[in-house]
Symmetry: C2
Subunit: 336 residues, 2 copies
Amino acid sequence: MRIIVDCMSGDNAPREIVKGALTGSAKYDVDVCLVGEKDVIEKIAREENLDTSRMTIAEANGPHITMEDDPGEITKEYRASSSMAVALDLLKSGEGDALVSAGNTGALLTGATLKVRRIKGVRRAALGAIVPLGKPMMLADAGAQTDCTPENLVLFAVMGSLFMEKVMGIDNPKVALINNGAEEHKGTELQVKTHALLKQRSDINFVGNIEGREIPEGKVDVMVADGFTGNIVLKMCEGTGLFVKSTLKKLFYRNLSSKIGALFVNGSLKQLKQDMDYSEFGGAPFLGIAKPVIKAHGSSNAKSISYCIHQAKSYAESGMIEEIEKTALAEKAKEE
Amino acid sequence: MRIIVDCMSGDNAPREIVKGALTGSAKYDVDVCLVGEKDVIEKIAREENLDTSRMTIAEANGPHITMEDDPGEITKEYRASSSMAVALDLLKSGEGDALVSAGNTGALLTGATLKVRRIKGVRRAALGAIVPLGKPMMLADAGAQTDCTPENLVLFAVMGSLFMEKVMGIDNPKVALINNGAEEHKGTELQVKTHALLKQRSDINFVGNIEGREIPEGKVDVMVADGFTGNIVLKMCEGTGLFVKSTLKKLFYRNLSSKIGALFVNGSLKQLKQDMDYSEFGGAPFLGIAKPVIKAHGSSNAKSISYCIHQAKSYAESGMIEEIEKTALAEKAKEE
């Protein structure tokens, strides 16, 4: 088992990525292939005194893909030596079993779709983001596909449920459709049709619609949406986290009395911070790509990348891609 | 100036509605017409020792519309004596200048559209909800119209901006389009086209797209969306408020130390509670209906209803309905 890591992408690249990849490799007992500028990676490993016994390096000298680049850049000839493009090529050719990147989401999706390809029968790949509001919930699609059909959404539900079960270890995950009401006739034509299809399925535990108000409550394990709605929900969840933080700051920094109060809740505050910490939940899988690709949060630190290594390993071992292929091909046959 | 109040609808009807209407009438110097069961209203006014000098009562003996009723119920013959139907009939016939109801949103919108009618040139009425996250922001449409055209959204923007300026007293309100990215090519076809149209307008202060993450920050005054997206955003904002409350509860009730901490931040906590209190911001106007209709929150208490009386009065005095008609007719002429 070997995990390919794109070391030159993300807000904290390359240092935090290299650190996370090598600590993850030791912690989770797995080989890693670090993709990036060889001398930079070796220097960081030396400086940080990291265990390199299970590391190989694949040279990628750039120009690398930045967060601001257009997703289409990944397909350009002059980007062929970017760490992301090289990492995807390695995954495609079987030099590793899974890939972790904290880089540009759009570029990674475009690259994965064109180079690694989708699972047979899958027409759209989804970004399965993990929403950290007290407990990890998956949101699929969190922004990969703005226009979706009911059939796309059904497959997002199946793939998201499989991931939460087989990779995140949740028993019989509860799956809900994000909608503007609880009743099955609610929503646009997309939600009405999707609800009807989800209700018929025996391979997922569909619990009905979920409204915006219930999302932060963490009642379900998988939330299904088109990528436009999903993106807004994901970012509002992130905004909620930031809002809670700024609210607490205002609350405790108001005057001397409130500052003293903060000392008394110190333990509670630390627990809360941990509950809402992205780095505790790892990254977001691209569901529907033929090999495991984990999109780490752009602001990932070493701890988060280390956890992504674990996630990527579990994903590669899970056998869920084969299961998705079976389901997707059966769905396609039904349609034809 | 007389405000019609639907006294039998809402979670806290009739007592809190009657109390709010009569305190609002005294506080904001305006006549009120209370619609509902005469003996019940009179009994509450007596028991609560309220000033009834500017009150008239319009009898409506039910069966009243409940929160669970199908919106279409408002059109049924046997509901003609419901407080909501009678209130709408009175508004239509000019017995009052504006209407306040805390009842079933769908029924109120259906009734207002059929009885009071839309402003000339307006094809879709929007629910202009006020989102209370630190400062009042308007969200239009918050759930009235799930399927919208770019032209609908442009008019929602214009109407929302007018309301925030003329009724809520905000100078040159900042208007933003809810979208899945900052760039103007982002979103589905609806958002791309709407963005292009909004950019061209000189009658609103359009500041571009707003992403989900920025919504709780309160950077803008009016957020524009189709009713499906808007409903999810509104309910997530409500969910965020509840999440903050439950988070604080967990934080302070964890152990003895944290309970002591709560005593030190008591003042701050009260301020926070007030900042996030729905009742401080009044109700949501139906934008595009030919006369002012304010939908109070279903869980409104007397304080909230009292503020809605003030809002309804400002709305009726603002002259904004005439302005909307001018704009809407000009838009319609442009299309033809």
